[in-house]
Every structure is written in C-alpha cells, then in structure tokens.
C-alpha cells in the first residue's frame, strides 16, 4: 500500500505540473495587459497602468479587423450550421453505402495540416483568377467549421430516440412540423454548441486565412503581424487579454450545454 501512495503522489504532482504549464501562459497574458513597458517584455513588470486599454479602444484598424473577423465567423458559422446539420441528419437517418466517406470528407480539413487547406484554396483561387474578398475567407473557413457542427449534432441524434420522430408523425405532425416541434428542440443545444465551437474556430483562424484573405486584415492576421514584427506591444498585450476573455465564454457555454443535456437524457432513460 505504501508504494501505491507514493505512485499516487507522484501522479498528482505531475498532473498539477501539467495543469500549471497549461494555464500559467494564459495568466501571464492577463498580467502583461497592465505593464507600463512599451518596448520590451520585461519581467517583473516595471510598472502597472490601465492606460493602454484606452489606447487600444481608440484604434480604428483594430476595430475594423475585429469587425471583419466577427462578420466572417458569423457567416461561416451559419453556413456550417446548415451544412453540418444536413449531413448529420442524412448520416443518422439512413444506413447508406458510403456514410464513412462522408465523415471522412468532413473531417479531412481539420485532419490535414492547416497549411494544406490554405495553399490548396490559394491555388484554386489563383487558378480561377478569383479576386480575394470577404467571401474567399468565409468559404475557406466554412470548410473546416462544418465538421464541428456535424460531430455535435450527430452525437445528439444518436442519443435521441428514433421513435420520437415517429411518435410526432404518428400524432399527426408532418415532416416540417416534426422538425420544428420535436427535432429542433432536441438537437438545439447541440447545434448551438457546435455553432459556438465553429465560431471560435473561425474567429481564431490564421493559417488558412493568410492564404485566402489577400490584403484584408482579420484580427488574427493583425495579431500575427505583431508576432513577427512587434510594433504596438502594449496594444497587442491588451488585445491578447481581451481575446482570451472573450473566447473563454463560448467554451464555457458550449461545455455547459452539451453536458447539461446529456444529464437530462440519462435521467430520461
């Protein structure tokens, strides 16, 4: 028993270490937003200030980049929600030949390195002489967002009793009424969670975007330029903090919605 306790202690220590490794960098981002240091990344911070928040908020280029990112993410997410749900419904309702290939095709854009997707889209855009635009970014993002919605919705479908749909039709509802009153409420949270994750994925994407954006600047593209050629360190620090805080929210929500409803379903069994 003695050696077991020792093993357990080592295990817990290692786990705690890994958790710290995962989270300290995030904490440091929160810290640096308040530094007075403008030219280096000196630690300990030479001084504390909140002045950079005002400076960052006054930057028009940042607002424009943020607006573009949000717009792209919203449209890409909308496309992904429609296409992902359709594919999930098709795969769930029938055992057709080649359903494995459907999953495979949808997973491919995130299974292959981002750079492959990026350069592939780039070469297609170049080959067809399509000018870079808002839509070239959106179409690229939608390809890898579909799978998050698809996975979430399909998982929910599989947990939902098939007889619910039959019961609804049996009670007089046609396919559309059944979708509205029974299917949608049951997959709703999964759809929303998938959408949230798709939004987060798109909002943060930079690798594919650098190949499909041309001269347009999304927020990640702006941050990337600061990573390679830092010009606005204090502003970047503030942006970094805000992004961390904003992206944490949808993750909490997505997590909550998917786990809540799984509890409810288990109780229902």
């Amino acid at each position: 028993m003695h050696s077991n306790n020792k093993v357990l202690a080592i295990l817990k220590a290692a786990s705690a270490g890994t958790l710290l490794f995962l989270h300290i960098p995030l904490a440091i981002i929160l810290l640096y937003a308040f530094t007075t240091d403008e030219t280096t990344y000196t630690f300990p911070l030479p001084g504390i200030t909140t002045q950079w928040f005002a400076v960052a908020l006054a930057r028009q280029d940042l607002w424009a980049a943020l607006a573009l990112s949000v717009k792209v993410a919203l449209v890409a997410t909308a496309i992904a929600m429609v296409l992902g749900t359709m594919a999930a419904a098709a795969v769930y309702r029938s055992n057709f030949f080649g359903r494995e290939s459907v999953s495979f095709l949808l997973v491919l854009p995130i299974a292959l390195p981002g750079i492959v997707t990026g350069i592939a889209l780039r070469s297609a855009i170049g080959g067809l002489d399509i000018p870079f635009s808002f839509w070239t970014i959106v179409i690229g993002h939608a390809t890898f967002c579909v799978v998050t919605v698809y996975n979430n919705v399909l998982a929910r479908f599989r947990r939902t009793s098939n007889s619910l749909v039959e019961a609804s039709m049996d009670l007089g509802a046609n396919s559309f009424e059944t979708f509205r009153h029974v299917v949608l409420p049951n997959i709703g949270t999964a759809l929303l969670a998938g959408g949230m994750l798709a939004f987060a994925l798109s909002f943060d994407e930079v690798i594919v975007t650098t190949f499909t954006a041309g001269q347009q600047t999304t927020l990640p593209v702006w941050i990337f330029s600061q990573l390679t050629r830092p010009r606005d360190r204090p502003v970047t620090n503030v942006v970094a903090m805000i992004v961390i805080l904003i992206t944490a929210l949808p993750i909490f929500l997505a997590q909550k919605w998917t786990s809540d409803s799984s509890d409810a379903n288990e109780n229902g069994k």
């Binding site: 290692a14 786990s15 995030l26 990344y41 070469s123 939608a142 396919s175 990573l227």
Partner: protein, 301 residues
C-alpha cells in the same frame, strides 16, 4: 402546401437523402476536394524563373527541386521537430490524462476536463504570443534563471549548435517548447478518452491475479491506452508539420515546411513549389493515418 410537400418527400426517402446530403457534399467536393486537386495539379507546374510566371506545362522539375539540399533539410528538420514534439507531449500528457480518467472523482473530473478544454479552445495566436513574452531575453524565464543563479546554464544551452540561438524566443528550443505547449491538449484528450474505456475491472482482475500496481500499469493499462496515444499523435504530428506561425514568431532563419510554403506562395509567387512542399506533409500524414488505422486508433479519435 407543406403537408403536400412533406408527403411527397416521405414517400421518397432516397430523394430526401439526396437533398440532405447534396448541399454539404457538393460544397465539400467543389470547394475542398477541388482545391486539393488544383493543389496537386499546381505541384506539377513550374515557375518560369525568367518571366516570374507560372508555366502551365506538366513537369516534375518542381518536385526535383524538393530534393535540393536546402529543401531536403527543411523536410527533415520539420519531421524531426514533429516527432520530438509528439513524443514529448505523449510523455507529459499521460499522467494528467490518467488522473482525469482513473483517479479523479466526479466533480474533480469535470473541473479538470474543463481545465484542459479551456487552453485548447482559447486563441492559438494569443497562446503563442504568451510564450513570446515568457521566452524573450528580458522575460520571465531569464528572470527565473537569474533568480536562482543559473543563467550560465541558460547561456550554455543557448550556445549549443542547432538548437540554441540569441535568446530562447529566437531559437529552435523555443519553437520546440511552444509547439509542445500549443498541441498538448490534443494529446491529453484522446489518451484520457482511451483510458476511460479501459474497464476498471480489467485492472482489478490484474491485481487480483497478483500483479503489482506498476505491473498492472505496464501490462494492462498502457497497452490498452495506446490507441489514444496514437490518435493524439495524429494531431500533434500533423499540426506541427503544417504550422508556420510558431517558427515565424519564435524561430531563427532556418525554415520549416510551413514557412517555406508561406514564403514561396507569398513573396515569390511560386505556387508550384509551395504546392510540391505541402505534398510532403500530405504524404507523411496519409502514411501515418494508414498505420494508425491499422492499429485501431480511429476509434479513439
């Protein structure tokens, strides 16, 4: 009206399947597979070095360029890095994954799970940026080494050929650390999922048969969790192969595949060479996926 349409469709399940499957499949086939095809085609073109235009004639010259010493170095350097990151992450990830799956109680488990999900889904760029702060010459790491009086050690590490550099933020070591950090959650989650599937009764049976804790671990738990490790390694390997943000932000002037692709298509407009370069990771990943599938890792994805 809706009722009529509903009935019409109800009697034609194959049509419904087609209508549901059509749009997503057409979208993915046209946009994604189409692009991949165009990528493949492009890799068989070449850039006319005199005019700077793409010569749309079938040629293997571009692929031949990959085997030039400098380009071959890039492929080898990137693959080595991907392998090192994958092995390191597997080692770091296992204890935490094991704790989540086997040791933690119900509440602790959901807390720990969220603690892994949070960094996974928070902004990738910002996490890279955090390490730029940490690893920079005047940053926390240097400060820490100074604090305990070990800066000669740091200087010695940085002076090593191949992995050193002017500071941690501008060295292969830095790139390695950041890659390990960024992809770590992708390794933890599949291992944890695989460990969850290892039934506790198996482990009890093993210790019942007289195996010590460590024997049980090495004979039962570890082999059964291998599909998870392999699934995780697909992510860490693939993501490292295709990344150019981390080496561009933290590395030195020695290129990785991602950087080569990025700069060839960007500044020089050499899309064919960029395309040929990406065929490296594609080929490596296809082989990797085939091996992984044979080892049953897909169930753990």
């Amino acid at each position: 009206m809706f009722k009529f349409l509903s009935t019409y469709l109800y009697l034609r399940p194959k049509l419904v399947l087609g209508l549901l499957l059509g749009p997503p499949m057409i979208y993915m086939a046209v946009v994604y597979l189409g692009s991949l095809a165009s990528l493949l085609v492009n890799s068989f073109y070449k850039l006319d070095s005199f005019t700077g235009l793409i010569d749309r004639q079938f040629t293997l010259e571009t692929y031949a360029q990959l085997f030039q010493r400098s380009n071959l170095d890039i492929l080898i350097r990137t693959t080595t890095m991907a392998a090192a990151v994958t092995i390191t992450d597997a080692l770091i990830a296992f204890p935490l994954a094991y704790t989540i799956a086997k040791v933690a109680g119900k509440r602790a488990k959901s807390f720990l799970y969220l603690a892994v999900m949070l960094p996974l889904w928070s902004s990738y760029l910002i996490r890279v940026y955090a390490w730029k702060l940490i690893l920079s010459k005047e940053g926390i790491i240097s400060w820490l080494f100074n604090l305990v009086g070990l800066n000669p050690l740091l200087d010695w590490i940085l002076s090593l050929p191949n992995i050193g550099g002017s500071s941690l933020a501008l060295s292969p070591i830095g790139v390695f650390i950041v890659f390990c950090y960024i992809w770590l959650p992708y390794m933890i989650l599949p291992i944890q999922a695989a460990l969850e599937r290892v039934s506790g009764t198996l482990e009890e049976a093993s210790s019942d048969l007289g195996a010590k804790t460590t024997q049980t671990f090495f004979n039962i738990t570890l082999p059964l969790s291998m599909p998870g490790v392999i699934a995780g390694s697909i992510f860490t390997f693939s993501l490292t192969l295709g990344d150019f943000i981390v080496p561009l932000s933290l590395g030195n002037s020695k290129y990785f595949i991602g950087q080569a692709v990025y700069s060839h298509q960007g500044t020089s407009g050499n899309v064919p060479l960029a395309a040929a370069f990406t065929m490296g990771p594609v080929l490596i990943m296809v082989i990797y996926l085939l091996i992984a599938r044979r080892m049953g890792a897909f169930d753990a994805l």
